[in-house]
Amino acid sequence: MNKALVLAAGVAAWAAVAVVAVLIVFNMGTKNQVLMFLPILAVVAAAWVIGELVTGAVFTEHEKGA
């Protein structure tokens, strides 16, 4: 897979975490901190999976081959 593409996917995944966190805080205020925490945790988990399975896999292969 194209290295630039998977790198962009990894960066976008973690940028999405930042955007989602800001949007959640912006829109929900301090009403329920646990409810706000869970979606942030979920999107972090999604970004982690993308990082490990997509971006990390390609870059690790590249390092092994180098």
Binding site: G10, W14, V22, V25, F26, I40, V44
Partner: protein, 259 residues
């Protein structure tokens, strides 16, 4: 002197016990650091959001910026007729008074507000988690010095713990990829090595021809290139007579460039 020699001459390095290494260096506990990081980052993002876009925001208001901060500082430096003042250290009261007298709250409100949001985001995504925790701890420390306890002591302790665990705190986060790529001053990663490679002119010390360690070698700059020496003594010699050790170098003026 003998006592000093006996105590320090061996330069022993004391190893941490396994439990401490497991907590602060093992990736197995990265999920625990993730929870701590998310909680701390969330708190900072919340605090910053109130100052940036809340109803009583500190910045980007129709009037002058930073008036809530001015009020906070004024309350903090006040010395009541009865009871004890909020600030216990006179030097800190003088520091806040100086900033108040010079109207620094206008721009300092931006620093605090955007700083809190930035620290929050960095902790949540796990990018430079150690540095973000350090910045957060510094802000907690200042709020506490100004007499505002609130949740600052708890956040301060969590930030310190993340600071100690900086190597693994962002493992489930951007640091998992960012730190190995950048590297550290004592162990540069591919990015740092690539940046240095274009400017470093030598692999051996120009004075004694010993191999140089790009991560630690003292550096001098001549005609836009970095010349690494193997040790401070050789750097002194190089800087004293650069034309002697660098072939083809004219009468250039040495520019120190540490690191």
């Amino acid at each position: 002197m003998a006592v000093l020699q006996k105590t320090f001459e061996q330069r022993r390095e004391l190893r941490d016990p396994g439990l401490i290494r497991a907590i602060f260096s093992s990736t197995w506990l990265a999920p625990l650091w993730l929870v701590a990081r998310l909680y701390l980052g969330y708190q900072w993002l919340m605090a910053g959001s109130h100052k940036v876009w809340g109803e009583g925001r500190w910045i980007a208001v129709s009037g002058p910026d930073g008036l809530p901060l001015q009020s906070f500082w004024q309350r903090a430096i006040a010395i009541p007729e009865q009871g004890s003042p909020a600030i216990k250290y006179d030097w800190y009261r003088r520091f806040l008074t100086f900033m108040l007298d010079h109207g620094w709250y206008h721009w300092f409100a931006w620093v605090i507000s955007l700083g809190e949001v930035t620290v929050g985001i960095l902790l949540i995504v796990g990018a430079f988690a150690g540095l973000a925790a350090l910045a957060g701890a510094f802000m907690n420390f200042n709020f506490m010095l100004a007499g505002s306890a609130s949740i600052n002591p708890v956040l301060f302790v969590i930030a310190l713990l993340i600071l100690f665990g900086w190597k693994v705190a962002g493992w489930i986060g951007v640091d998992r990829w960012l730190l190995p790529a950048l590297g550290t001053p004592w162990q540069p990663g591919p990015v740092l090595r690539r940046v240095l490679k274009g400017r470093v002119a030598n692999e051996e010390c120009p004075v004694c021809q010993m191999p140089v360690d790009p991560a630690r070698a003292p550096a001098s700059a001549y005609n836009g290139l970095i010349y690494l020496s193997c040790c401070p003594v050789c750097k002194e010699r190089l800087d004293a007579q650069p034309a002697r050790y660098i072939p083809g170098l004219g009468p250039a003026i040495p520019v120190p460039a540490d690191g």
